[in-house]
Structure formats: C-alpha cells, structure tokens
C-alpha cells in the first residue's frame, strides 16, 4: 500500500528550549484510518502543525503522498485537509463563506466552491445555518463547520485534531458515521482524540506518542491483544456483609453492592463466576471498568514515563 504520510526522525525544539518532538518516525498507509494518541503536551499537535506547515520543524523529513514538504510544499499542502483542535475560522463570516473561501484558496472557482459548500454543509446538517454568522453556531456545529471546510477541496489526507471534543454523544456518533463514510470512499484519515473508545471504534492503526517520542505504533487489533488483563466492575444482586477471599481472584469492594476484579486475558470468565457462586454471591450485571484501549494507553504511558524517570 503506498504511503500517505512518511515521517522520518522529526524533531522540534521551540524557542524557549522545549523539545516537543525528539525524532519521531511514522508511516501512514493510503486509505488508513489512523489514530495518533498521547497525553496532553505529548507532541501530537506539534506533529500535526509540522505536517500542515503551521509549525517550522527543527529536523527530519515529512512526505505527504511522496511530496517532501521542504521541496514540494505546495503539492503536499494540496493533498491535506485539517480540522484543528481550536476553532480557527472567521467568526464574523457567514457559514457558507467560511467553506466557499477555503475552496477558493485551493484554486477552486467560486461557482464550484458554492456547489461543494452546499454538498458538505448538507452532509453535516449545517445547510439551514449557511447564512448565519459562524460565531452564532453552537460548539458542535462549529466542529462540523470545520470538518466541512477541511473537506471542501477534497483532500486525500484528512487530519482531525480532537474533532469531537465537547460534542454530545449523538452528534459524535453521527460524525463517526460520516468519517467512516469518507474513509471508505478513499480518504486517508489521521485522528487524534482523548476519547479512546473513538479510536478503538474507528481506527485500524494506532500510534502513541509521549513526551515527544513514539512509544507504540501498531494495528489496533494487535495492540488490544497485548492487553494482559481486564478490570471488571460487578454489581451484586444483594449487598455483601463480608468480602470473601477467593482462591484465584482478588476482589476489591467499592461499596457493599459493587466489586472490582481483575481477570487475565487468557482466563475464562466462567471460573470467576464459579468461585462467586460457591460463596453464594449473585451478580446482577458487569461492565468493563475502563475502555480496553484506555487501559492499554495508561499502561504504555505510565511505563514510558517510569522508564524516563529510571
């Protein structure tokens, strides 16, 4: 599969001396739905800034569909669409102008720009608001406006930096459906998010970055397979007077009707229920304590930071 994005030994040191990226190398295949994860301040936004030329790099190379940003910046930019983390459109322009102007910057004629603006604003349920000043949109609408704007020149690589932050679950799910649709139509997508269920649900490959370094880069499936244990919350049918000591599992009481327990990945969950039944404990419901990817993410980041501290 040809590469949509090739990054080699990318470094960024800011004027104050802060080293935001310490030699990151990364490949994103064409057509991929790729998650770029990391805690706040890990270097994700700097990385995206360099790819989109909003941040000047200190070293390394970046190629977008084979176009080196040092030598063929214009060609590289033509392939890219960006939905940034912060709202960055003109708040005093009508919605349709925000989208149509963006098309114009890519050399798309006004007539064609208006046709495309209509298409994307309709897709993102903003057509009714097209004449409204963009500052008057709700937070979720502003996020969707930025997606419409990023798509209007039909980029081959779409980068979304926390596109669903602060968006309610209904709109978030409709945005996921739309992103799946455009990815299926051939657009490569790179997504950063703090909602790890979003990454798990949407992305085929995942890279985790922490303190300017890549600490994981693999497929979502492979990453989830490395999870050695899962933590479950058990809601009991009746309150417990005393916490029993099980032979093979360690129970933690969160309150008199709720227990927490770790189960190894290669272990059958039936053995836990057998032990609980033998102590007369009835479970009414159970759920994962955290999203599986979230658990892995925390392990990886903690290990990375412990390694740095050692």
């Amino acid at each position: 599969m040809p590469s949509a994005l090739t990054i080699r030994d990318l470094k960024k040191t800011y004027a104050g001396g802060h080293q935001a990226l310490k030699g990151v190398s990364l490949d994103v295949a064409e057509g991929d739905f790729f998650a770029l994860l990391g805690p706040n301040g890990a270097g994700k936004t700097t990385l995206i800034g360099i790819i989109t030329s909003l941040v000047n790099k200190s070293g390394g190379t970046v190629e977008v569909f084979g176009h080196d940003i040092d030598r063929e910046l214009s060609d590289a930019k033509a392939c890219l669409g960006l939905v940034p983390q912060e709202f960055n459109f003109n708040m005093f322009e009508p919605v349709i102008e925000v989208v149509a102007n963006q098309a114009g910057y890519y050399g798309i004629t006004r007539d064609e720009a208006l046709v495309r603006a209509e298409q994307y604003l309709k897709h993102l349920d903003l057509w009714d608001k097209r004449r409204m000043m963009s500052r008057n949109l709700s937070g979720g609408m502003k996020r969707r406006l930025m997606i419409a704007r990023a798509l209007v020149h039909r980029p081959r690589l779409l980068i979304l930096d926390e596109p669903t932050a602060g968006v309610d679950i209904e709109i978030r799910r409709s945005m996921w459906a739309y992103l799946r649709e455009i990815n299926a139509a051939g657009t490569t997508i790179i997504l950063t998010t703090h909602y790890l269920e979003e990454a798990e649900s949407l992305c085929r490959n995942i890279a985790i970055i922490d303190e300017g370094e890549l600490i994981e880069n693999t497929s979502t499936r492979q990453l989830l397979n490395t999870l050695s244990k899962e933590t479950f919350i058990l809601d009991l049918a009746e309150p417990l007077a005393e916490l029993p000591a099980l032979e093979r599992h360690r129970l933690v009481a969160l309150d008199e009707s709720t227990l927490e327990v770790d189960i190894d990945r290669d272990e059958s969950i039936n053995s836990l229920f057998s032990e609980l039944s033998s102590h007369g404990i009835q479970v009414s419901s159970m759920r994962n304590k955290t999203n599986r990817l979230e658990e892995l993410f925390m392990n990886l980041v903690e290990n990375s930071q412990a390694g740095d501290g050692a």
Binding site: T46, K77, E97, G104, Y105, G107, T109
Partner: protein
C-alpha cells in the same frame, strides 16, 4: 498551483477583504467621510477665507487634495492592519497558511483590500468636497497613479504592523503616534515654502509630503516637490515594504511557531 488557481485564490482573498469592510461600512467608510466633511467646513469654509490664498489658490481648494490623501492613507493602513491582525487573533489566517496559496498572493490579497477601501473612501471624500468647491483636475494620470501608489504603500505598511502586532494596542500605536503626525506635517494644510529653512529640510524626510504634493499637482498643477522625486520615493518605498512583507510571511514571523 498553476496560474489560474493562483488568480482564483487572489480573487477569493480580495473579495473576502472587500466584503469585510463593506459589511461594516458604518465603521469603515462613513467615519472618514464625516470627519473630512468637518475639515472642509471648519478649515475651508470658516477659517479658510481669513487665511487667504495659498500658492495662488483659495485655501479650500489647496487643502482638498491633501484631505483626500489623508483619508486614503489612514483607511488603506487601517484596513490591512486590522484585518491581518484580526486573522491572526482569531487564527483564521491558518486557513490560508495550510493551503497551497503562495505568500505573495496572500500579500496581494490583503493589499488589494486596503487599496479598495482607500480608493472608495477617497472617492467618497472627493464627492463630499464637491459640495464646497468645484472639482479642478490638472492631470488625471498623475492624480490616479499617485492615489493608487499611496494606497498600495500604506496597505503594505499596515500589513507589516499587523504582522508585528501582538495586541489590539499594537495596531493603534503606529497610526496614532507615527502616521497621524506625519500626515498632519505632510503638507496637507500648508505649503512647506512657508516654513523656516530648517523645518523645510526636516519636512523632506517625511515620505507623506511627497505623495500629498504629487497628488495636489494632479489637481492644481502645483507642488513643493519635483513630481519625479515623488514617484521615485513612492515606488522605492513600495518595493522595500513589499520585499520586507514577503520576507516576514516567508519566515512566518508571528504566524508560524
């Protein structure tokens, strides 16, 4: 990006800039017209007859070209500095920075907005002046070329101010403390031949003097300065400011990390 795409991008930025000041015309076009009308009433109608003639013309006739030029200078500058700083402040300049549009097209787009506002205000002020004095044009080519060069020059200056500005205070400091004094001392209200030798020579360091005098030549056929010197100074400043502005955009001063 091919030439046609670049032209479309330029047209997009220019149209956006014109729509911006047209949408808020009560703040952008009307105030300079009202202010200049007051100048015509007070300096031209009330005080002017007591001053008498200036270089062979009624005082009102003498100050009209300078007042038009003052409106063009301040509005070309103000349009670009506020629009560029606004796009930095709201970060929507990033829309252009991530696109393939070259820096010189971005620059020309902003300048075209400043020129458009400068010329519209200039024409409006000229129309108001007709209520006080009949239009007297000596050379249309000189008048048009000088008003165009001046609006380009001060649009570029406004862009540089916008690039360096880090707050809304920064976009008013230069107009208040540099541009306004230079404009008032640029021969709008008087001929430098009235000044003592020292101040005559000091006035020659003021670039606005050259533009006001050349523009006045276009109306009245008189100037304290050689016409060709005025053109050379104006074009020289435009080239210098254009190259410097382009350099600032290329290195991303204040707009790229």
């Amino acid at each position: 990006m091919n030439t046609r795409s670049k032209l479309i991008a330029l047209q997009t930025i220019s149209a956006r800039e014109v729509r911006r000041f047209a949408r808020i015309w009560v703040q952008t076009v009307l105030p300079p017209v009202v202010t200049t009308a007051l100048y015509f009433v007070i300096f031209g109608n009330l005080i002017g007859p007591r001053i008498g003639q200036m270089n062979g013309f009624d005082y009102m006739e003498f100050i009209i070209p300078g007042l038009i030029m003052m409106a063009v200078i301040t509005n070309s500058y103000a349009n670009v500095v506020s629009s560029f700083y606004g796009s930095k402040f709201q970060r929507h300049i990033e829309e252009m920075l991530i696109s393939p549009v070259p820096n010189y097209i971005i620059l020309l787009g902003y300048v075209s907005g400043g020129v458009a506002r400068g010329l519209i205000v200039g024409v409006a002020v000229m129309a108001v002046s007709l209520a006080f004095n009949p239009l007297n044009i000596h050379s249309i080519p000189v008048m048009l070329s000088m008003i165009l060069l001046t609006s380009i020059l001060f649009s570029l200056a406004g862009l540089i101010n916008g690039v360096y500005a880090n707050s809304f205070d920064d976009i008013s400091i230069i107009p208040t403390f540099v541009l306004t004094p230079l404009t008032y001392l640029g021969g709008i209200f008087y001929s430098i031949s009235m000044l003592p030798d020292f101040w005559q020579n000091a006035s020659l360091a003021n670039p606005i003097l050259y533009m006001v005098n050349a523009f006045r030549y276009g109306f009245l056929g008189i100037s304290d300065i050689s016409l060709w010197t005025s053109y050379a100074i104006s074009i020289g400043f435009i080239i210098t400011l254009y190259v410097f502005s382009l350099h600032l955009l290329r290195i991303g001063y204040g707009i790229r990390s």
